[in-house]
């Protein structure tokens, strides 16, 4: 930048004071200019909505109508609302039964893909295919498979002599069905992340372990897992955020009663409750309050995870 200024200024170099000012400006200001677009967009589409939602959550808002100050009433009514607690519990249970198996399976899958398999490239692309499928398409297919009256899964269970399972109207079957969809979609994605991390693990470690007589399983447990721990933590955080915001799968799985999470709210997640409040019953203030509670929850979970990481680091340092 500084050179181009000199080149275009027509021969006579600018006085030394100005030049050094420009140089300092170049050094100090230009990086800000370069990062500005992101932060401007973030301010417009991230920060502003966040603050505006916070403002809305303190009011009684009605689409097409007026706004009234309510203070913290929206939050206090959430605390006593059994639907909020129900949605929170559902979000938690669906989150656990989808995230835990998902990440474990992804680890195993990544470990297998890390072998020198024939057609490795194909398998690596193939595990990503579910992730590339749209939620809507995948969920609609699964909803058909889990259809209580005509679905393939109940048909197969019938062959095996089991009674048909009410996949949608019973609580746990419905939550399990939704978790299956989530797991199907994200396992491959996480597997590829693990795989990338595993490939960065030095080969010598494995060789040394093999010389020490460690089996494949032992190598996996004592070499692979410790080496990719930061990556595992990353996927746990990302999956937790995803699980907290779970929306599309239960909504589409429930079909016509998807927004309320089934006739008895048996699989209504926090996001669905927020959507129902805001867009179905038009209580935008209460919906905003839920949005903020979700944000605070995520910050809380993030904080806890950071603490765990830190204590891990400390342990490692003191251990070595």
């Amino acid at each position: 930048m500084a050179t181009s200024v000199r080149a275009t200024s027509g021969g006579s170099p600018p006085p030394a004071g100005l030049r050094s000012t420009l140089y300092r400006l170049d050094l100090k200001a230009v990086p800000y200019v370069f990062v500005a677009p992101f932060f401007l967009t973030f301010a417009a589409f991230g920060l502003f909505p966040l603050i505006y939602t916070g403002w809305l959550s303190l009011h009684r808002v009605e689409l097409g109508g007026s706004t009234q100050w309510k203070g913290l009433e929206n939050y206090s009514s959430l605390a006593t609302s059994e639907f909020f607690w129900n949605a929170l519990a559902n979000t938690f249970t669906i989150g656990v039964i989808s995230t835990v198996p998902q990440l474990l399976m992804a680890l195993g899958l990544a470990h297998l893909l890390n072998y020198k398999l024939r057609g490795r490239g194909f398998f690596r692309v193939a595990v990503l295919a579910p992730y590339a499928t749209s939620i809507a398409a995948a969920t609609l297919v699964f909803a058909q498979l889990f259809n209580t009256d005509y679905g393939l899964i109940n048909t197969v269970l019938g062959w095996a002599g089991f009674d048909p399972v009410a996949w949608e109207s019973s609580k746990w079957p419905a939550q399990i069905a939704i978790s299956v969809i989530v797991t199907w979609r994200w396992t491959g994605y996480n597997a590829l992340i693990y795989l990338a991390a595993m490939q960065a693990v030095p080969q010598d470690l494995y060789e040394a372990a093999a010389l020490d007589g460690a089996s494949r399983w032992h190598q996996f447990i004592s070499v692979t897992i410790p080496s990719i721990r930061p990556t595992i933590l990353f996927t746990v955080i990302v999956s937790t955020i995803g699980a907290t915001q779970l929306f599309g799968e239960p909504m589409l799985f429930g079909g016509s009663v998807g927004i309320s999470g089934g006739s008895g709210n048996q699989f209504q997640t926090l996001s669905l409750l927020m959507y129902e409040k805001g867009w179905v019953t038009g209580a935008l203030g209460q919906a905003s309050a839920i949005a903020w509670v979700m944000l605070l929850l995520l910050l809380l979970i993030g904080g806890i995870q950071t603490l765990i990481t830190r204590s891990n680091h400390k342990r490692k340092k003191s251990g070595s």
């Binding site: 097409g64 059994e82 109207s169 998807g258 309320s260 006739s263 409040k277 038009g282 203030g285």
Partner: protein
């Protein structure tokens, strides 16, 4: 996905160009002939080229492709006006978007259709000022409409914000095959007599059906459908006479709830949810899983489409136990539109008796204008799929028996809670009715921010 959407975009652009080209040509023609429109006074006779946009949901039967070609007809009479319809299939989504746009006064079409379930919200204090008074603007003949239809769209201070399109008089559609197998009469007059006058008799007919019913079939499609049918025939529904939500003390809600619960307890229903997105309800039509369904006129189209040609002649329509109204819409004109006057004129024309008759002929929408209801076009109408049922006669008779109930702005929402979270829960999950009722009350208290 990406390529197809961009191709779509290009196609739309071409369409826009084509429209622009046509508009230019039309302007040229208008200039050559001296003036666009004639004595109608549309667009002030200035010949200025304008586009009127109309926002609808579901099927209004106006369009040029499958409807009564009303837009083409109006454009021909008013060469300076071009009409564009934007349609949303889902009425709830349509209304949600419309509310957002109203609150921002932007993105609104010149004419917006309103469903009866939301008309109380639209005429309510929060929104009443957003609409043009169609009693004054547009030259509609309010006297031509059924009186209660006009009343529903009238605000507290006497403004008429919507003109009636169709109404939803209700009958009972029944499967003659299943009725015959269950040793019930199949003649529509006889069937009507089975339950004439009382929903309890309808339940009794269901018990009779069950005694010798073919394996795997039920008497009625869904308990929530039955709930809707019963409440649609009640003079007091979700609101009191002041238009305030009072479903807890409503005799209509109690009767509908009890009837639906009785049907569930007696296992007379197929435990389905109407309009279920997974198509289970639709499939049940094709597979003849149930013998009766509450049948507003628009339901006949659904039966025809879902039961398919292989079931032609199996279905028939009988008079309902009690006459009721389920559905119906209005056309309203937002004040903020640039062409509010022309839009009001178009709305008045679209809802005039002559146009009601044309739409009925093509789409089967039962008119909300008095004379059209008794006109030969409606009275003599027959439906071949149902074995030439005199559909016009049945539905206009049902329409005559309608006692419109006061509506509150929360009706649509409370109805959803009662049917989807109350009745459906009893029906599908075996929840105790008393507990389900408590759940509904909690839902209403929690989710409606009054």
């Amino acid at each position: 996905m990406r390529t197809s959407s961009s191709r779509h975009g290009r196609g739309r652009r071409t369409a826009v160009n084509a429209v622009a080209a046509i508009a230019v040509m039309a302007t040229g023609a208008a200039l050559l002939t001296g003036c666009g429109s004639d004595g109608d006074g549309a667009a002030g006779g200035s010949g200025e080229q304008i586009t009127l946009r109309i926002g609808t949901f579901g099927s209004f039967g106006y369009d040029n492709a499958t409807g009564a070609k009303l837009y083409a007809e109006y454009e021909k009479a008013h060469p300076n006006i071009k009409i564009e319809e934007s349609n949303v299939a889902d009425g709830q989504k349509y209304w949600d978007t419309l509310k957002l746009r109203l609150s921002r006064d932007s993105g609104l079409a010149d004419i917006q259709a309103l469903e009866v379930g939301y008309i109380a919200e639209a005429t309510g204090p929060a929104m009443a000022d957003k609409w043009t008074d169609l009693g004054k603007t547009g030259g509609a003949d309010l006297g031509a409409f059924l009186d209660w239809k006009v009343k529903q769209a009238t605000t507290g201070d006497g403004k008429v914000i919507g003109l009636g399109t169709d109404i939803g008089p209700m009958a009972i559609c029944y499967n003659k095959d299943l009725f015959a197998k269950a040793k019930l009469p199949t003649d529509r007059a006889e069937v009507g007599k089975l339950w004439a006058g009382d929903w309890a008799k309808f339940i009794a007919a269901g018990e009779t059906y069950k005694k010798s019913a073919p394996e795997g079939t039920s008497f009625h499609d869904s308990a929530s459908g039955l709930f809707n049918a019963v409440i649609s025939s009640e003079p007091v529904q979700y609101a009191n006479t002041k238009g305030e939500l009072d479903y807890e003390n409503s005799p209509g809600v109690k009767k509908a709830w009890d009837t639906a619960v009785a049907a569930t307890k007696g296992e007379l229903t197929a435990k389905l949810r109407q309009f279920d997105e997974k198509g289970t309800w639709n499939a049940a039509f094709k597979n003849s899983k149930f013998a009766t369904v509450a049948c507003p006129s628009w339901m006949t189209g659904i039966i025809k489409d879902q039961a398919g040609p292989e079931n032609q002649g199996k279905w028939d329509i009988a008079a309902p136990p009690v006459a009721g109204n389920w559905g119906g819409s209005f056309l309203a004109v937002p004040k903020s539109g640039k062409h509010a006057k022309e839009a009001a004129e178009l709305a008045a024309w679209l809802t005039a008796p002559a146009q009601h008759a044309k739409v009925f002929g093509v789409n089967g929408n039962i008119p909300s204008t008095k004379d059209t209801l008794i006109s030969a076009a409606v009275q003599d109408a027959k439906l071949p799929y149902f074995g030439d049922t005199p559909i016009g006669k049945i539905y206009s008779e049902a329409a005559a028996g309608i006692t419109p109930a006061p509506i509150s702005r929360w009706d649509g929402q409370v109805k959803t809670f009662l049917t989807d979270n109350g009745i459906l829960d009893i029906e599908q999950r075996g929840t105790d009715p008393a507990k389900a009722w408590e759940n509904v009350k909690k839902l209403v208290d929690d989710k409606i921010d009054q």
